[in-house]
């Protein structure tokens, strides 16, 4: 590959009625990612091109775009992996377009906030003024840690067929995070969250299309989290759920090492 043909979605609010594709041809260098190509276009070809990026290393979740009809993080996608020199980049579907490739993720963040994405502890005092560590076994950690890797990039929401038609549906990201918190032994807010997601536009509108897990760039597997959440809710509604013991605290010894004598200052 010597040159790449990029078709990039352009849209300027107040000027364009609908988005259109603009073609650019740029030289290819080994190791280029889609984000590198977009930065090249902005710096050397057309500086009006708008896109969102931040960490450029696949951890902040800012640069989600649709590349050749599949949602990807632009910084995390080497051009060679696409195995073509014709690349079409659009903004993420199911999110409103602000400009060019920049989509508004406000709805994702609002839905995420609505499911109370924090540990709801039974002992508020200990949570706010900790005196000890919580004890969690490796198995307890592994039951939720996969879902804690979510970077809130929105690729799963772009992939979900239910989000495509239903503006009120919570979506794979918030639902996956409900399970992440409910299964964490430090959290006692499962019942509260179950009532939130047991709505007509809640967890039961997920039909296991699996596209969210396919699109997820961090291996979070939100589809698995949602199905495990459904199991937890079914068992809870049939009163078959095992009663969960609250997490225990481990008071660590305060003085674990001998104190080292500080030598006298040489400069007074």
């Amino acid at each position: 590959m010597q040159e790449l043909t990029f078709k990039v979605q352009r849209y300027t609010p107040g000027q364009d009625k609908e988005p259109y594709l603009q073609e650019f041809t740029i030289p290819f260098t080994e190791g280029m990612t889609v984000l590198d190509c977009l930065i090249y276009i902005k710096e050397k070809v057309d500086n009006t091109l708008s896109f969102r990026s931040s960490c450029r290393m696949g951890i902040c979740g800012s640069c989600g775009v649709l590349v050749n009809n599949f949602p990807m993080l632009a910084c995390h996608t080497p051009v060679e992996e696409l195995q073509t020199d014709r690349i079409e980049v659009r903004s993420l579907p199911n999110f409103p377009i602000i400009r060019d490739l920049v989509a508004s993720l406000d709805l994702l963040f609002e839905k995420h906030k609505s499911i109370k994405p924090y540990i709801i502890s039974s002992d508020i005092r200990e949570a706010e003024e900790p005196t000890a560590e919580y004890v969690q076994s490796r198995e307890e950690l592994e039951s939720y840690v996969q879902f804690a890797y979510c970077v809130k990039c929105g690729l799963c929401m772009a992939a979900c067929p239910t989000v495509a038609t239903d503006a009120l549906f919570l979506g794979p990201q918030p639902l996956g995070q409900v399970y992440r918190y409910c299964t964490d032994r430090r959290d006692m807010g499962a019942k509260e969250r179950f009532h939130e997601v047991d709505s007509p536009h809640g967890v039961w509108l997920c039909h296991l299309a699996g596209a969210c897990s396919e699109a997820c760039p961090k291996g979070v597997d939100p589809a698995l989290a949602i199905q495990l959440l459904k199991r937890a809710m079914v068992f809870d509604s049939m009163r078959l759920a095992k009663k969960r013991q609250p997490v225990t605290l481990a008071h660590l010894p305060v003085e674990s090492k001998p104190k080292i004598e500080v030598p006298e200052f040489t400069v007074k």
Partner: protein
């Protein structure tokens, strides 16, 4: 946990339909002989077992189908305040269809 209970019923009716509808389809469409002649139909109509199967098939099928339709309607951003109206409308439609469709085999029994 209303939605969860409705979905559990959807699973139960799905499993039931696998057997009831499966039996009905095999007998009506795959078995040898003439299952749709008047004699054959009247023969099944006189049997309590077949009548029970038809009524269960109707109840399970109507619940499963109308719940599926409800799910699809909800996915068009159907507003939460109108969901009760939708539910009652589907209940009324379901009962009306059941009344009409159950009358046929019961009257022939």
């Amino acid at each position: 946990m209303k939605e969860t209970r409705l979905k559990i019923l959807q699973y139960i009716t799905g499993i039931g339909l696998f057997f009831f509808a499966g039996t009905h389809l095999i007998v009506s469409h795959l078995s040898s002989g003439e299952p749709t002649t008047w004699e054959s139909v009247s023969g099944r109509a006189a049997s309590a077992g077949w009548l029970t199967l038809y009524l269960l098939l109707l109840i399970f099928g109507l619940y499963h189908g109308l719940h599926g339709l409800r799910t699809i309607i909800l996915e068009f951003s159907f507003p939460n305040y109108a969901v009760r109206v939708l539910d009652w409308a589907l209940v009324v439609i379901g009962i009306a269809i059941f009344g009409y469709a159950a009358y046929i085999p019961i009257s022939a029994f």
